[in-house]
């Protein structure tokens, strides 16, 4: 009898947590009350399915989103890239990093259930992390949202060993909530998801640039600037990548736009000066680098730029 007691206590404790967490599927409730303007049923049936082995839901889920647009990898070849044997799992950061290594842009979403559904309706499966257990008894899990049915209030996933796991929005929301609503869109360069903002896109673009071919990065920034022409960071990114590809007049255009967007950013004037000097526009280049020094007289980097540009003349 005394042996069972701790067990019961545990049961009571967990049941309490369960009851309290039952009342918190707020987003699902909102979804019923004011449904987003998307088709009532979508299912991306062509999303590949790789039944996970052992603890390897990370590689399986990642292979699904990576291979959706075009075949690139297998779960087995992803294992050495993202799996951590002693943790028996995969870190979120490595899911993002591995996507980039495979020429994919990995963009984190805003934690809204409607964003997941909208992106699926737009034709992109969404990678999610869930805790299928409790805070104190975690069962971390990666899965891929491939569909939904607004009328039946259900979400459809590729999950673990189940090819088509159907769950009520509310149950999904509770398990997803415990990962702090982590969801990610994984797309090739040139594909623009509908549910990301300029900030998350530019963050993903900068990370993508680290390990990707310059031409691919150029495409990523071009798409970004097309959608958010008023974004300083994306204009700077486009300028830098164009410059790295020796496309100096393209670089000039982007940096010039950046200086108009934020005239007090010395970085933009500095880089503009380099794009100008590489085209032999000496006078304009000098003017531009001097503007950078004028804005940040204490910053030695811009004084060094002036010296370097002098040598390039």
């Amino acid at each position: 009898m005394s042996v069972l007691k701790p067990g019961y206590r545990c049961l009571a404790g967990l049941a309490f947590i369960a009851l309290t967490s039952c009342s918190t599927a707020k987003q699902s409730i909102q979804l019923y009350e004011s449904p987003p303007d998307i088709p009532s049923y979508v299912e991306l049936e062509s999303a590949p399915f790789y039944p996970q082995r052992d603890y390897q839901c990370g590689p399986a889920a990642l292979a699904t989103v990576i291979n959706f647009h075009k075949p690139e990898t297998t779960p087995d070849s992803l294992v050495p890239q993202i799996y951590i044997p002693e943790l028996k799992g995969t870190l979120q950061i490595e899911m993002l990093a591995a996507s980039r290594r495979l020429n994919r842009l990995a963009i984190e979403q805003d934690g809204q259930l409607t964003s997941i559904l909208k992106e699926v309706a737009n034709g992109n499966p969404v990678l999610v992390m869930q805790n299928l257990g409790f805070e104190g008894y975690p069962y971390w899990h990666y899965a891929v949202v491939i569909g939904y049915d607004l009328d039946k209030r259900e979400i459809i996933l590729r999950s673990g060993e189940i090819k088509r796991l159907v769950r009520p929005f509310s149950v999904f929301e509770r398990t997803w909530q415990r990962s702090k609503f982590w969801s990610v869109i994984v797309v090739p360069a040139g594909v623009m998801p509908v549910t990301v903002n300029a900030e998350s896109y530019s963050k993903a673009a900068i990370a993508f640039e680290l390990t990707s071919a310059k031409q691919q990065s150029l495409l990523v920034y071009q798409k970004g600037v097309q959608r958010w022409p008023g974004n300083f960071l994306l204009q700077m990114g486009l300028g830098n990548i164009s410059y790295a590809l020796n496309e100096y007049s393209e670089a000039e255009k982007a940096f010039l736009t950046a200086t108009k967007l934020k005239p007090q950013k010395a970085e933009a004037w500095n880089n503009l000066a380099y794009a100008l000097i590489m085209q032999g526009k000496k006078k304009q280049s000098l003017k531009s680098v001097n503007k950078a020094i004028e804005i940040e007289p204490e910053n030695s980097q811009y004084r060094d730029s002036l010296i370097e540009i002098g040598k390039l003349m």
Binding site: L14, E86, L91, A97, L132, E209, Y243, D304
Partner: protein, 122 residues
């Protein structure tokens, strides 16, 4: 004067070392540098630490190097000192019988979703 030179030299070499500049000219400001400043960390040291940690956790040396190289500075500082505490997909603690029973019940009421064969009651 001397100090300033040493500082400039140091900062320039650190920047080059960290691969900030993808461009031919050292004076260009790289895009990654435009992101909000990281807390003052020796990022290269942290990268080394994370590599060692990954190897300790069973990742092959060569893979660990490639994996750490693929992480951004922001991710490196996020991982600093807490790699083993972060959630890793597909890790569950051992299941005790009592816990098993609880999880069946919580699965039925839709609070958890451990067993795919259990359909939650709405």
């Amino acid at each position: 004067m001397m100090n300033q030179r040493v500082l400039t030299f140091l900062s320039v070499s650190i920047f080059i070392f960290l691969g900030f500049f993808q461009t031919a000219n050292a004076g260009m400001v790289g895009t990654q540098q435009l992101l909000p400043a990281m807390p003052s960390l020796n990022l290269e040291q942290v990268r080394q630490d994370i590599k060692v940690q990954l190897v300790d956790l069973g990742v092959e040396q060569q893979q660990a190097e490639i994996r750490v190289a693929a992480m951004t500075d922001a991710q490196i500082s996020e991982l600093n000192h807490k790699l083993a505490d972060l959630p890793a997909g597909a890790s569950a603690s051992g299941t005790l019988l009592a816990v098993f029973i609880v999880l069946v019940i919580t699965d039925v009421i839709g609070a958890t979703d451990i067993f795919p064969f259990i359909k939650p009651v709405q």
